[in-house]
Structures are given as C-alpha cells and as structure tokens.
C-alpha cells in the first residue's frame, strides 16, 4: 500500500524534473556539502564559469560513498564521485563504473601520486591529536604509545575511513608485526567509535588523552577558535596519508561538463577554499599559500600504500585488528 503511494509520488516528481540548464551531479560525503564544508563556495565558483547547475548529493560519510556508487550502478544520476580515499580506489576501479580523468597529475602531494581514474583534490596525514595542557610528553611512535598508559580513542575501520587509514598505517610500518602492535595497543584503546566525529567528540569531552584525527586538526582550533592547546603527536616512524580523490563516472550524460569540473577542482577557485573548510592540505598550492597553523606539524616521513596493496592487504589486516582487540 505504502509503496504504491511512494511510486505515485515518484512519478509526479519525475515529471516536474525537466530542466533547461545542464545539471552536473556530484556525489560526495555529507560534511563536504554542509554549510561549513567546501560545498557552498565550490558551487558558487564553478557555477560562475560553467553555465550549468552544480548539484551535490550527500551519501553519508566517506566510507558509505563507494557502497553508494555500487548501489547506483550504471543507472545512477551522478556524474562525479568526490571523496573516495586511496584505500578504496582499487575497489572503485574494479567496479568498471569510472572513466579516465585525463588531467595532468597534481603536484602538491609529498608523495608521487598518479592514477588514471582518480584525481586528488586534498590530502592530510593521520595523527593522534592531544591537548598540550593535559599531556606534556606525547608518545613518539606506536611502540612508545603501546608501552605507555596514554589512552586513545580510535575509529572502526569497518565503518570509517580514518579507522581504515589507521589499520593501513600500522600495517605499512610493521608488516608482519602489526598483530603484535595491536595486541600491545589494546589496553591503550578506551573505545572504538563508528566514525570520526564521535571519536573526536569523546576526546574533546576528556574521555581519552588522544584521538585519531589529522595533523591539521590543531589548525582548526587555532584558526576558528583561537585555541592553541591542541597538538598532533609526531611519530618518528612516519605518518600514513589520506589522499582524497574524485573520479568521473563512465555513464555520465554530461561528460564534457564533468571534465570541466575536474579541471576546476585542481584550480584556484576550488583549491583556495579547501584548507579552512575541509581542514586538509590542498592538492595544488593556492596562490595565497597555506593559512597559519598548517605548517606546525609536518611529519618527516609519509606512508601511502598503493591502491592494489591497500585492497589486497586489508582483509588480513582487519582480521588481525579484530582478533587483537576482541580479546
């Protein structure tokens, strides 16, 4: 009964959807399109140049994005998917839904990254963020962290991209020893949350000494709240990166517009708003440089598994993680 009402509503709306300006649909995560994210500024800047209507569609968080693309399959409305990270691109490529972006590789990353399907728009280093007034000497490696009684809160790799990033971080550095590190970290972990915001919220509420976040998180507090108490713990062994990318869907009905958007994405109009809306490093250095606070915590060494490595290694890494923390 209810589904027929739904179907009726659906068909009415379908008729009303006739539009004369071309529409570019960008599927992205929810925090990108919120009024505090880059979405509104990006939409305004792109629409000023494209004679088109840029529409963002939110798909929950970053981890939900790929599932959403696969759900939509070939029949979806999206032209661009924006917000996958490199731990997911191999799986995304394997769906066969994406087309080559055709743009030149970006230059603003600390590691070389050139994927024919996915173009980076921003990046960051994962890091544990702490409060300088409460924790005087933060650990300088996973080993030191595991041996200390510092309490951390992390995200679940099954439901969150930072959680998955941490899994890859430990795996990249420790390889076969990763299971042992997780076992030793178990008593440091206060709890595991479904997503980033719960973990960060718990940390700010004082439930843990550190939370898994980004090296740029303290910059938010410094710039937006004039609060200089937060810092990122730098690990000598290096930090894993999150590279956020966008790709063009093969079945887009406005392929030229999609190409134009990807070109715009790595240009000034897009890149200049990223730092203080997404709180990540822009993939191409904007003319004005980076705001204050973005240079404070720069790791010496960057880690990034290649997309195929990340895909093949993650089931094993997840099993290790689950075993070590379930005990």
């Amino acid at each position: 009964m209810r589904t027929s009402i739904l179907a009726m509503g659906v068909s009415c709306l379908g008729l009303a959807a006739a539009a004369d300006t071309p529409v570019l649909t960008v599927l992205t995560y929810d925090s990108f399109i919120s009024e505090w994210g880059p979405g509104p500024a990006v939409e305004k800047a792109f629409e000023a140049t494209c004679a088109c209507d840029l529409q963002f569609v939110g798909a929950g968080d970053g981890a939900a994005l790929l599932a959403r693309v696969q759900l939509e399959g070939a029949g979806g409305d999206a032209d661009i998917v924006l917000g996958l990270d490199t731990n997911l691109t191999a799986q995304a490529t394997a769906t066969g839904l994406f087309a080559a972006h055709g743009q030149a590789a970006v230059t603003g990353l600390p590691v070389a990254y050139d994927d024919p399907m996915f173009l980076p728009y921003d990046w960051g280093w994962f890091a544990f963020v702490y409060d300088k007034t409460k924790l005087a000497t933060p650990p300088a490696s996973f080993r030191e962290l595991a041996d200390s009684d510092v309490k951390i809160v992390i995200q679940d790799p099954r439901s969150s991209t930072p959680g998955l990033g941490l899994l890859m971080w430990v795996k990249a550095i420790y390889g076969d020893q990763a299971a042992q590190i997780w076992a030793d970290l178990a008593d440091n972990i206060v709890t595991v949350t479904p997503g980033w915001s719960e973990a960060y919220g718990l940390f700010l509420a004082g439930e843990a000494d550190m939370a898994l976040s980004y090296t740029t998180s303290p910059a938010y507090h410094l710039i937006a709240e004039s609060d200089d108490t937060k810092a990122a713990a730098l690990f000598a062994e290096g930090h894993y990166m999150q590279v956020e990318v966008a790709g063009k869907l093969k079945d887009s009905d406005v392929p030229a517009l999609a190409d134009a958007f990807l070109g715009f994405m790595v240009s000034e109009g897009f890149q200049s708003v990223i730092a203080t809306t997404n709180w990540m490093y822009p993939a191409v250095m904007p003319a004005a440089g980076l705001p204050d606070g973005f240079d404070r915590f720069r790791p010496e060494k960057s880690w990034l598994l290649t997309a195929p490595e990340a895909l093949t290694g993650r089931a094993g890494a997840l099993a290790e993680w689950q075993n070590a923390l379930s005990r």
Binding site: G76, S159, I189, E207
Partner: protein, 515 residues
C-alpha cells in the same frame, strides 16, 4: 457490523507495514551475488542476543519497583517527574552517550568522586557499559508501560482490597502478579527488539570489535565488503530473532482480568512503615540515574545555544513538521491495529507480529532497500523528506501500538458487550467509548511517536541532499565540521523540541483521562 471496518483496517495496516519493512530487504537480497556468513558474524549474533536480553531484563526488573512506587505514592511534582523521566528515551544516541560519559566516563562525576576518596576509577567500557546505556535509554519506557498497567486497574479493586484487609503481600499476589503478567512481557519484548538493532551505543561503549552487533556486521557487509547477500542474511536473522521473541511473549501474556470500574476512588494505597522509605529510595534512585546525565547534556548544550547558525532553526522547523505529520499517520494506524488485535480471535498473533517488525529493521538495510526501490524512478535526494516521514511513522508505530494494546484488550473485555448491546458502533463508539477510555495511552503514545520522529536519522543519510536537512542531520554535520559546541547546542534544541512535543501530547492524554 462495527467489527468489519476495524478488522479490515487492521489487516491492511499490518500488511502495509510488513510490505514496507520487508520489501527493502527483498530489494537488497535481489542485488546479492551470493548468500553466506563469515565466522565473525556468528559472534556478532551471539553478542547481540546477550546484550539485548540483559538490557531488556535489567530494564524491566528495575522498572517494577519504580513503577510500583510511582503508582502508589502521591507527592508534589509527581506528574512532572513522570513526564521528565521519559526524556532519555528521546535522546539521539550520541547525545545520550556523551551525557552518560559525563557521569560514568573516565572524566565523569563518578570517577572524580572515587578519586576524591582514594578509590581506583571504574571503566564504563564493556558489556556492562552497553547494558547501562540501554537501561538508561529504555528504563523510562519500561516504567511508563508498567505504570499504565497499574493505572488500568479500576480504583474500586483497590478499595475492595482495602476492605478485605489485604496487606502488601496479598496485593502483590492477587493484583500485582496478574498485572505484571499482562504488561511485563510486552515491555520486555519492545526493549529487547530495540536493543537488537543497537549499533552506535554498543560499539562506542562496548570498547572495541568484541562488541560487534549484527547491525555493525551489516555495516561491514555493505560498506566494507559490498556484500549485499550477507547484509540481507544478517537482516533476516534480525527479523527472525524478533519473531521468535515476540511469539514467546505473545504466549506468556495473560489479560489481567480486573474488569471494569466506575473510576471512583483514589487508586492504589501505599502501605506504611519501612515500605515508604523503600518506595522513596526507588523513586530517588531512578530520578538520579535518569536526570543527572540529562542535566549534563543541558549544561553541555547551553553555551552553544546562543549563536546557533540560522540553518539550525530552519532544520528545526523542518523536523517538527516531519514529526507532526508522521504522528498523524502513526497514531490512527496504531489505534486501529490495537483494536483489531484486541477483537480478533484467530490471526491476531500475525497482526501482532507485523506490528513489531519495524523495530527489528536494520536501519541500513531499510535505507539501502528503499534507495534501490526508489532510484530507478527519481533521484533519491528529492524524496528525502517524504521517506523520512514514512520511515519515522513506521518505526514509531510499534511503540504506540504496544502502549495501546493492553488497554484496548481491557476495553474489549469490559465494555465490548455493553457497547454492542447498546448498538454503539462506528464513529459514536470511537468518540464515546474508545477515545475517552484510551486517552492516557493515546496521549503518551502520540507524544512518543512525535518525539521519536524528531530523532531518527540512520535511514535518511542515504537520501540526504545539500538542502532539506533535518535537525539530527545538522547536529551530525556540525560535529563533522569540528563544531562540537554548536553541535551540543543544536542537540539540546533537538531534545527540548522533542520533549516539548512529547510533554504536550502526554499531558493532553492525562488531562482527558482524568476528566
């Protein structure tokens, strides 16, 4: 004559509900490439069952002394306290968790107190923390459901008990046991089923992947592995567990059979002596347990209230509209269903089962399935609000139905024949008999439905566009943008609005019941 429309309506509503929650599951299964479970899924089912059973048991057992104390004592502020105690149930999960942590967390009041007297800290994280949070969220519901049971006993029975010289022991044996047998199984089932689909509470307070519930396993299946077959099997298991438990409870329930009264008298009379202190203890303990974390939430939220972004207020208006519309859909449907089940002989069990199905729904599978059904026809983002209304209406219906059912049964047993012999049916029966007799649970149920419809967001995330966000979604977006203070303020606004809707409707019900 009068039975026919109600019976048909009830069957149609039950069928519609079943289609609404099962069709998405079928849609998800239809996209599957194979059906298998992983080894960790079995562990997830086991953990889910254990935490849900413990949470339901503890909530209902604690609710007995609290509801009894509230039923037989009169004191200033009792009405407000009963209404206030409903608030935790209406909290968005992450807000409730942060409130509990302010009390029981590592930096919470309890551990500060323990440190002051030199004791080691206690950790809230683990199975006990999950149960604690579920009891915090569901104890109010259990208390209210039991309290309705006490209030459904005609006052004359208590006068009679007094005249016969019943002591507390006899009252317990002859009145309270039958009453508890009538309402306790239903309350326990509802709480059990709510906890079955727990996800964020179980993970956040469970402390790690050992606390993996079926819902989290579904998340993993959909997002991590894109294994829709496994997601469908897990969601099916969730429904099956719900079905078994509902069936068992259906067999355990016995109508209390107190008969009708003239509503004269004062209700239960509390025994004197040490029992006064016992009742005071239970009321005091429950009040502290429920209201201290709530106070923490208010204190956390107030600083953020002053400069809430404009969009928060717009979203609040949208959420209230959604809540009101879904309540208008839910309450008549639940009433019709409850009357249908109360009257029907054969087939009532099936109607009852359909009425609780929405509670066992996996939010992710429901959302994903609806998405698959809708997507071929229209961009899902356009349907965000209609889908929210329908999902909220369906998900709050089981609560309203459960609240109405015991009293609808009593109504049938006590007044059914009288009404029939007077030729009272149709609208007249509804206006003169049903609405006045059921005003109390109707008001409470409508309040609950409205407040719950303010909150839910799990399903809607798949449908959200850049416009048309509801208040819970805005809270989440604020948190995602580091704005924890504003998020706490918006969450407080959400709680306040939910509570205002709930309080107003609940008060309406109690006023009309008293008149």
């Amino acid at each position: 004559m009068a039975k026919r429309p109600v019976a048909l309506g009830a069957a149609a509503i039950a069928g519609g509900l079943a289609v609404f929650v099962l069709a998405p599951l079928i849609a998800v299964a239809g996209r599957a490439e194979g059906f298998s479970l992983g080894p960790s899924d079995i562990a997830a089912v086991r953990f889910t069952l254990m935490q849900a059973a413990l949470s339901a048991l503890v909530s209902v057992l604690l609710a007995v002394p609290v509801a009894r104390a509230l039923a037989r004592r009169r004191f200033a502020g009792r009405g407000i306290l009963i209404t206030l105690m409903g608030a935790p149930f209406l909290l968005p999960v992450i807000v409730a968790v942060l409130g509990l942590l302010a009390v029981f967390g590592r930096a919470g009041v309890v551990n500060d107190g323990l440190a002051l007297i030199g004791l080691p800290p206690v950790s809230i994280y683990g199975l006990h923390g999950v149960v604690l949070a579920h009891v915090f969220l569901n104890l109010p519901l259990a208390v209210r459901m039991l309290l309705q049971g006490w209030q459904a006993i005609p006052a004359e029975r208590f006068l009679l008990a007094q005249a016969l010289g019943f002591g507390p022991r006899e009252v317990f044996r002859h009145m309270e046991i039958p009453l508890l047998r009538a309402v306790m199984p239903g309350a326990a089932v509802v709480i059990f089923v709510i906890c079955l689909s727990s996800f964020a509470v179980a993970l956040t307070l469970g402390g790690g992947p050992g606390a993996t519930t079926v819902e989290l396993a579904i998340y993993q299946a959909v997002r991590f592995d894109f294994d829709l077959g496994r997601a469908a099997v897990l969601a099916g298991i969730q429904f099956a567990l719900c079905g078994v438990v509902t069936g068992v409870a259906w067999m355990l329930v016995q109508p209390a059979g107190f008969g009708a009264g003239m509503d004269r008298g004062t209700g239960p009379v509390g025994p004197g002596g040490w029992r006064i202190w016992g009742d005071a203890f239970w009321i005091g303990a429950a009040t502290l347990f429920l209201l201290v974390p709530l106070t923490a939430i208010v204190l956390r939220g107030v600083p953020g209230l002053w400069d809430l972004p404009h969009s928060v207020w717009v979203a609040a208006g949208r959420s209230v509209t959604v809540a009101v519309i879904s309540t208008l859909l839910t309450v008549p449907a639940a009433l019709c269903l409850a009357l249908g089940v109360a009257r029907a002989g054969r087939g009532a069990g099936a109607l009852d089962g359909a009425a609780i199905l929405p509670l066992a729904t996996s939010g992710l599978v429901l959302g994903t399935g609806l998405f698959l059904i809708v997507q071929p026809f229209v961009p899902p983002a356009r349907l965000a609000l209609p889908v929210t209304v329908m999902v909220n209406a369906a998900l709050s219906l089981p609560f309203v139905y459960r609240l109405l059912l015991p009293e609808a049964r009593g109504l049938e047993a006590d007044y059914g024949r009288l009404a029939a012999s007077l030729g009272l049916h149709g609208v007249a029966r509804l206006r003169l008999l049903v609405l006045p007799r059921l005003a109390r649970p109707l008001g409470f149920g409508a309040g609950l439905a409205a407040a719950l419809s303010m909150g839910d967001l799990g399903v809607i995330a798949l449908f959200a566009g850049s416009e048309g966000a509801t208040l819970p979604l805005v809270v989440q977006r604020l948190m995602g943008a580091y704005r924890m203070e504003a998020a706490a303020g918006a969450a407080l606004l959400l709680v306040t609005l939910s509570f205002a809707l709930f309080g107003a409707l609940d008060l309406w019900g109690r006023r009309h019941a008293a008149a």
